[in-house]
């Protein structure tokens, strides 16, 4: 009997150690570091709210400028890419689930495959496509644009690549949910003379409300961490107009020269506070899912 009492720790204990070492401690230390002038290597000095004051209110500081520019660009990315990454896969899934469309799995695979490609490999290919001298766009369509160095084209390259590589999962979720909508509903709507668009709006959309909310929340959470696409496609340019917050955070903490990890941590915490709201939605959804 005595043995049984402790055996649970053999099962959950190792993970708790991992959890403490790689989630709990870094989280607490990350918050603490935001109140210090940490340089990543030597012991941090506590400076109170100084970092936050500089970032939020000191108009002359480069950190203030970087934070607001990075936040603005991150919000632009989220604001544009999330709707695209919901609407486009939804249209694709609806088309695939059209009852007279064949080769359903073929279409699905083609759209899903880019999601398996790492951001860096995808970015190399897309950079070449948008390359002003050698690329497809300028050669084939006769554009005369330096895509990644002119706005709004620089953003467009980032969005195109993001949608290309990022909608496969959402599409599969929509497909599964659409296909589980009862056919009776559609048939009775047809008897009432409803067309395809009407059926989509009045039957499909309400029936897949929950998967829609799920994908919106998950896509939003992922989009706030955007980093690789602008880094590799535009390098944050032109004139830092696509520099997102994660790029500044990484540069401050791990860039060349003295690490300014304390300031970077404060920026991370500020971004984290925005993400916390989204995490709350995620937590709510997971619990609802499990009920």
């Amino acid at each position: 009997m005595n043995k049984k009492k402790y055996s649970q720790w053999f099962f959950v204990g190792p993970h708790i150690i991992l959890f403490i070492a790689f989630i709990l401690i870094p989280s607490i230390y990350g918050i603490y570091a935001s109140f210090t002038n940490w340089n990543l290597m030597t012991a941090p000095n506590f400076v109170g709210l100084e970092n936050y004051r500089t970032i939020l209110f000191n108009q002359d500081s480069s950190f203030h400028r970087e934070f607001f520019n990075g936040m603005k660009n991150t919000l632009i990315f989220v604001g544009v890419s999330v709707p695209l990454m919901v609407v486009i896969p939804l249209l694709i899934a609806t088309s695939i689930e059209h009852k007279k469309v064949k080769y359903k799995n073929f279409f699905q695979s083609i759209v899903y495959i880019p999601g398996l490609i790492s951001i860096s490999a995808a970015a190399l290919i897309w950079s070449l496509i948008f390359n002003s001298q050698l690329g497809v766009m300028n050669n084939l369509f006769g554009f005369d644009t330096v895509w990644t160095a002119t706005q709004p084209y620089a953003w467009m390259t980032i969005f195109i690549m993001t949608v290309w590589g990022g909608i496969g999962g959402n599409m599969i979720i929509y497909r599964a949910s659409i296909s589980s909508v009862s056919q009776d509903l559609y048939e009775s709507a047809e008897i009432d003379g409803a067309g395809a668009i009407r059926k989509f709006i009045s039957i499909t959309l309400p029936s897949i409300k929950f998967p829609l909310i799920y994908t919106v929340v998950m896509t939003t959470a992922g989009s706030f961490n955007v980093f690789g696409q602008p880094l590799m496609m535009t390098g944050g340019g032109p004139r830092e107009s696509t520099s997102v917050l994660m790029m500044y955070i990484r540069d401050l903490a791990f860039g060349s020269g003295q690490s300014i990890a304390g300031m970077a941590s404060a920026m991370a915490v500020l971004l984290g506070m925005v993400l916390l709201v989204i995490s709350a939605c995620q937590y709510y959804i997971m619990n609802r899912n499990s009920a």
């Binding site: 055996s7 649970q8 053999f10 959950v12 190792p14 993970h15 708790i16 991992l18 959890f19 070492a21 790689f22 989630i23 870094p26 989280s27 990350g30 570091a33 990543l40 694709i92 609806t94 088309s95 059209h98 007279k100 469309v101 695979s109 083609i110 759209v111 899903y112 495959i113 880019p114 398996l116 490609i117 790492s118 951001i119 860096s120 490999a121 190399l124 290919i125 950079s127 070449l128 496509i129 001298q133 497809v136 050669n139 084939l140 290309w164 599969i172 979720i173 599964a176 589980s180 998967p211 799920y214 994908t215 980093f227 955070i249 990484r250 991370a268 993400l275 916390l276 709350a280 997971m286």
Partner: protein
């Protein structure tokens, strides 16, 4: 009314075919460029297929083992992703068993506390995590990418859900026969949760193969980095699109492993994504 439905069918096909073309052309373009010489690319401009197929780009890529050792990068990535995936499967099944099948005081409180904390945004952890890696001597080693991810709660949540759906009578009758927890876990539960382990394993593999931000931070040693971080260096190494064939060839080589995995495990991918979203796969 029949006509109406047919029209929508053609719209659906037209839309799908357009989408598929847009989705496939970048890949074909990348592959075909990797078989063209720089001179041809510059002189002939865009072509879907090369005029002269050459393999020189690949030969040069594979011979460069100092500044851009692509095979080594892929090998590093394979080691990282496979080890990570195997460890994930062990950790989540053992831990999931503890939270789903064992009874102990405070079990659910503990589980939901950890789950709640794990939703704390990841951005805040990254900088201290680097410091921890440095303390462990793991900077520039595969362990920096293999171990920290094992602490995550998402997959444990999934496994726990799945295990809770299995009848408790299984455990009880085994216990009557004198089986201990480890035997029940290994002999009875483990075979039954294979589907959910495949799901978690696939996503762990793809996730760790394609991770970008963390390897870029934690690897500076060219010989030791995974392929995602390596490709970031290539834009500089192959001279800002002066050697596009090599650039594309490297990207294509980096894509092959995950693509093969998809071809062999396509069915699992689809059910995996739906299981994650709480839908029946």
């Amino acid at each position: 009314m029949k006509k109406k439905i047919d029209v929508s069918k053609y719209f659906a096909y037209l839309f799908l075919i357009t989408v598929c073309l847009i989705w496939v052309i970048p890949l074909i373009f990348g592959i075909s460029t990797s078989f063209r010489s720089q001179a041809e690319v510059v002189n002939e401009g865009f072509r879907l297929l090369p005029v002269n197929w050459i393999v020189d780009n690949y030969v040069t890529i594979l011979e460069n083992t100092s500044s851009a050792p692509i095979l080594r990068w892929i090998g590093n990535s394979l080691f990282i992703s496979i080890t990570h995936t195997l460890l994930v499967v062990v950790v989540i099944s053992v831990t999931g068993y503890g939270y789903a099948r064992m009874k102990f005081k405070g079990r659910d409180v503990l589980f939901f506390t950890l789950l709640g904390i794990s939703f704390f945004p990841n951005v805040v952890n990254i900088i201290p995590m680097y410091r921890i890696m440095d303390l462990f001597g793991w900077v520039n080693t595969p362990w920096a990418m293999i171990v920290p991810g094992l602490a995550g709660m998402g997959n444990i949540f999934l496994v726990r859900q799945f295990m809770k759906g299995l009848p408790m009578e299984l455990d009880e009758s085994a216990r009557v026969d004198g089986a201990g927890d480890f035997t029940i876990y290994f002999r009875i539960i483990l075979p039954l949760i294979k589907p959910v382990l495949i799901v978690a394993g696939l996503f762990s593999f793809i996730g760790s193969w394609n991770d970008f931000l963390w390897p870029v931070i934690v690897f500076t040693d060219v010989q030791r980095m995974p392929v995602t971080a390596g490709l970031l260096l290539l834009q500089d190494i192959y001279g800002n699109y002066q050697m596009v064939g090599r650039l594309m060839g490297s990207a294509i080589l980096a894509i092959i492993p995950t693509l093969l995995l998809f071809l062999f495990a396509q069915k699992h991918f689809v059910s995996a994504i739906n299981l994650n979203a709480g839908l029946k796969g």
